[in-house]
């Protein structure tokens, strides 16, 4: 059995699953100290299901802690950013485009050093060990305990980042090192930003992982713990302590994956209608499609692996106004829906009231919306459907109709028919889709590199990338034989006559669970 936990800003959800079956689900308020909320959720889960803690083989946790720490600029460590690229790259030093508040929160320590590669693999300049030793000494003097290392074209060749890390670790014993090639893609500033963000979260990562461990210990669970990543795969807690940044945006990913699991549909659009906003994402082979453009977190531009989610201001609590032009949202009564909406005895006309008046939902007292103009109801419902249909269409990858899975409390606003949908599915357990998404996550490996097709054929390059991605998935804990390549993307690089192409391949497999594999081998 496995437990999935989603620690959100408002609620901590937990589910107990055996195979594909949801045995129990609970929803409790998130607490400021993390541990208490998780303990409360686990206690209820244990009592609801008369579970023996020893029966739990794995616990998967999705969390928003790290994202929130960056957005609030709290609990971040003083961090050194070391970039290898001199004499190039000086014009734009590390953290050049960061908000002042965040730069100050981590001290703004930037070091430019020699190193880096050209696009074709030549060195920009050789690494200068003396220079790096001096940088290391300065970092030690300042008492900084975490370092982000980036090198030009390190996604193509990672050697220099690794060599620099070795030198700095010798100079600064016990220092935590984050390497950019492990974290981001081509695009030096964005990759470096993500690496620095990762570096400044290292202490928090250790303490959060500790909090998770002690919460589990308190209820007697001693199984391995995994954290959800933003691409729908899992990482071990050891890995999470080193790469906390990989948890960013895992919330929407888990909710989408959970929706896919509950509905059994692997290629679909997922609509998550909340109280204030609607999030729409697309699943390909059961995994969220990733955003291709730069994503900002706490006003820092990054190129994280992020799900491509389109959000807009329509939810159950959206305000309806009809002054000249009918408008629904983006303003919302939010969590006050159950006191402010007409059907709940309030005096604000909301999207929920329109849905009840139109007979789409049966909530509160229907009589309270009897006097709402029927033309307004009709037009309002039509407007909501068309806005959602348009957003779905915007997210689709082809003109073909696709299945749509709907989760979230606000889904009552939707009719069972959406234009462009081959079918519309509203699954059970939709309220805890997040925690289910965490529980069912797999492990993956990714390759994202520039290949020169002068020396090898395109097919050979793709084959090499696929094999590397599969190896990485196994290294990350996937069971051999379950690993599949889920995504292949090829981007020819403009202007380069050497016919260079960038290939991204992702492979995923089922997590190798010790207890389960023992059971199978018997």
């Amino acid at each position: 059995m496995r437990i999935g936990i989603d620690v959100g800003g408002t609620n901590t959800d937990a589910v107990l699953m055996q195979g594909r079956q949801v045995l129990a689900e609970v929803k409790t308020p998130t607490t400021p100290d993390v541990t208490a909320g998780i303990v409360a959720a686990l206690r209820r889960l244990v009592s609801d299901s008369s579970l023996e803690p020893a029966q739990v083989h794995a616990v998967m946790i999705g969390t928003t802690h790290f994202t929130n720490a960056v957005i609030e600029a709290k609990r971040l460590m003083p961090t050194a950013a070391v970039r290898l690229g001199l004499p190039a790259t000086q014009a734009l030093p590390p953290m050049v485009d960061w908000p002042e508040r965040l730069t100050q929160a981590i001290g703004g320590h930037a070091y430019l050093c020699h190193g880096g590669h050209e696009f074709d693999g030549r060195l920009i300049s050789p690494l200068d060990p003396d220079e790096l030793r001096r940088v290391g000494a300065d970092i030690a003097d300042r008492g900084i305990r975490t370092v982000a290392i980036s090198s030009v074209f390190s996604p193509v060749n990672q050697e220099l980042e690794e060599q620099a890390a070795e030198i700095i670790q010798t100079e600064v014993p016990g220092v935590a090192v984050s390497l950019s090639h492990q974290i981001g893609r081509i695009g030096l500033l964005e990759r470096e930003n993500a690496t620095i963000v990762n570096a400044c979260l290292r202490d928090l990562a250790v303490s959060i992982v500790e909090a998770f461990h002690s919460a589990l210990a308190e209820v007697g669970i001693r199984s391995p713990v995994y954290l959800s990543q933003n691409d729908g795969t899992l990482m071990s807690v050891d890995y999470a302590e080193r790469y906390p940044v990989a948890t960013f945006a895992s919330g929407p990913t888990n909710s989408m994956r959970g929706a896919a699991f509950l509905s059994g549909v692997l290629d679909c659009a997922v609509i998550d209608v909340g109280g204030t906003t609607t999030d729409i994402g697309v699943l390909l082979h059961g995994f969220p499609r990733e955003a291709s453009i730069a994503v900002e977190i706490g006003q820092v531009r990054t190129n994280f692996r992020m799900p491509d989610v389109f959000s807009f201001g329509l939810g159950g609590g959206s305000l309806v106004s009809d002054q000249g032009q009918l408008q629904i949202g983006p303003e919302s009564v939010g969590y006050e829906l159950t006191s402010k909406a007409l059907v709940f005895g309030g005096d604000v006309l909301t999207a929920t009231d329109l849905a009840v008046a139109a007979g789409l939902a049966d909530l509160g007292e229907r009589a309270r919306v009897a006097q709402v103009d029927s033309r307004l109801v009709e037009q309002g419902v039509a407007l909501m459907q068309s806005r959602i249909a348009e957003a779905v269409d915007r997210m689709k990858t082809s003109a073909q109709p696709i299945p749509i899975v709907i989760v979230g409390g606000g889904s009552i606003l939707l009719r069972d028919h959406v234009p462009g949908a081959s079918e519309v599915i509203k699954p059970d357990h939709f309220a805890v889709a997040n925690a289910i998404g965490a529980a069912i996550a797999q492990v993956g490996g990714e390759v994202d590199r520039v290949f020169s097709l002068d020396q090898m054929s395109r097919e050979a390059a793709l084959e090499q990338a696929r094999a590397e991605a599969a190896q990485k998935a196994v290294a990350a804990g996937a069971r051999e034989g379950t690993v599949n390549v889920t995504d292949v993307e090829e981007v020819p690089l403009a202007y380069l006559p050497s016919n260079a192409t960038r290939i991204r391949v992702k492979a995923v497999g089922e997590l190798e669970l010790e207890a389960e594999s023992v059971a199978r081998s018997r």
Binding site: F119, I186, A494
Partner: protein, 369 residues
């Protein structure tokens, strides 16, 4: 004459992406470079074309190379100073002004960092009134201005000075050197006198880019029609409303080539518009008939926000307005069309100005493919 500070660059970068007609490189890095240079060296003095003395020595400055490399291997910062010094040594006189070679995309903001670092004024004009993929494609070529002597400089301190028999040879040799320099170089070329500048360049285009950016920002803030505002400012024509249905890309001879298929909505429902591009948009084809070509500006805007969309950003599902605006009149002469007309890019059709196709009540005489 006016001073341009960090704050003006946001609008300028957005407007430059409009004039970039899908190409010209992502203005983000260019904007950051200009901002950083202004932060370190103070604001840039922007002068209009008629404020430049006839005897001035004006040198356009730009980044050359692959946009995909430019986002990884960032500049050292003083490359352009080396290029300018090499050119000054060769010329035997100081460079007094710099200017933008193309108003579209990345290179609209590049000269700002040059002007800030060198402490020389920047002239409000450019060599295209838009963006084009090759060095010889500037109005100055039509006036017999030579692209060379041209200086290229890299991060290591290397400079190369080339002299060529014509401007197409400049493109060829400069492209090879740029690749050896790491697929990105800072370049200084097309040395102009103030007098030549006045006749050979497209005036006011940096100011125009900034104005377009501010128009989009302000119209959007007021929930107005940003696409309409741009059309009006550029005397353009909206030729299509639709949704991106498919995008194909390939790399050929060092260029990003491809096409985007747009399915019509509203009054264009039932029709398909195909835009072919080579870094920049080249032609628009409506249901098998060409309805717009270079050198007119074929611009793709996000339908709601009016934000320009570059070819790298084109994706299925975007709702777009395709607008076409008239190019600088000189591109419409036989000499201009020989440089950048549809035939140069491999389309065997005559160029028909956009206002002749769409000018009267939108009836579009189309050219057979």
């Amino acid at each position: 004459m006016r001073e341009v500070g960090e704050g003006d660059l946001e609008d300028l970068a957005i407007g430059a992406a409009v004039l970039g007609t899908g190409g010209g490189g992502n203005p983000y890095i260019g904007k950051l470079l200009a901002k950083q240079a202004i932060r370190e060296h103070g604001p840039v003095t922007l002068v209009s074309v008629d404020e430049v003395p006839d005897e001035a020595v004006v040198v356009p400055s730009a980044m050359m190379g692959a946009p995909t490399v430019m986002v990884e291997k960032l500049p050292r910062g003083d490359e352009i100073i080396h290029a300018f010094k090499a050119l000054e040594d060769y010329l035997g006189r100081p460079i007094t002004h710099t200017v933008s070679i193309e108003a579209g995309g990345l290179n609209s903001t590049t000269p700002f960092s040059v002007a800030a670092r060198m402490g020389i004024p920047l002239v409000d004009c450019d060599g295209m009134g838009r963006a084009f993929p090759e060095i010889q494609m500037v109005t100055a070529t039509m006036y017999g201005v030579s692209a060379t002597p041209m200086a290229l400089a890299d991060d290591k301190g290397n400079t190369a000075l080339i002299n060529t028999v014509d401007n197409r040879w400049t493109e060829r040799l400069a492209r090879s050197i740029t690749i050896d320099m790491g697929a990105t170089a800072m370049i200084a070329l097309y040395v102009l006198t103030g007098k030549q500048l006045k006749e050979a360049m497209v005036p006011g285009t940096l100011g125009l880019a900034q104005e377009l950016g501010s128009l989009i920002r302000q119209t959007r803030a007021a929930h107005g029609d940003a696409v309409g505002a741009i059309l009006q400012r550029l005397n353009g024509f909206q030729i299509f409303s639709g949704k991106i249905a498919d995008v194909r890309r390939r790399t050929e001879a060092g260029f990003a080539k491809g096409e985007a298929r747009i399915e019509g909505i509203d009054q264009d429902a039932g029709s398909v518009l195909t835009i072919r591009f080579q870094n920049e948009h080249l032609v628009a084809i409506r249901d098998d008939r060409i309805v717009a070509t270079v050198p007119d500006l074929i611009i793709v805007l996000e339908a709601d926000s009016g934000e320009p969309i570059t070819t790298e950003e084109l994706r299925y599902g975007f709702r777009v307005a395709v607008i076409v605006t008239p190019c600088d009149a000189r591109w419409r002469t036989p000499a201009g069309l020989a440089l950048v007309g549809p035939r140069f890019f491999g389309y065997d059709v005559d160029y028909v100005p956009v206002e002749e196709r769409f000018g009267s009540r939108g009836a579009a005489p189309a050219t057979g493919l």
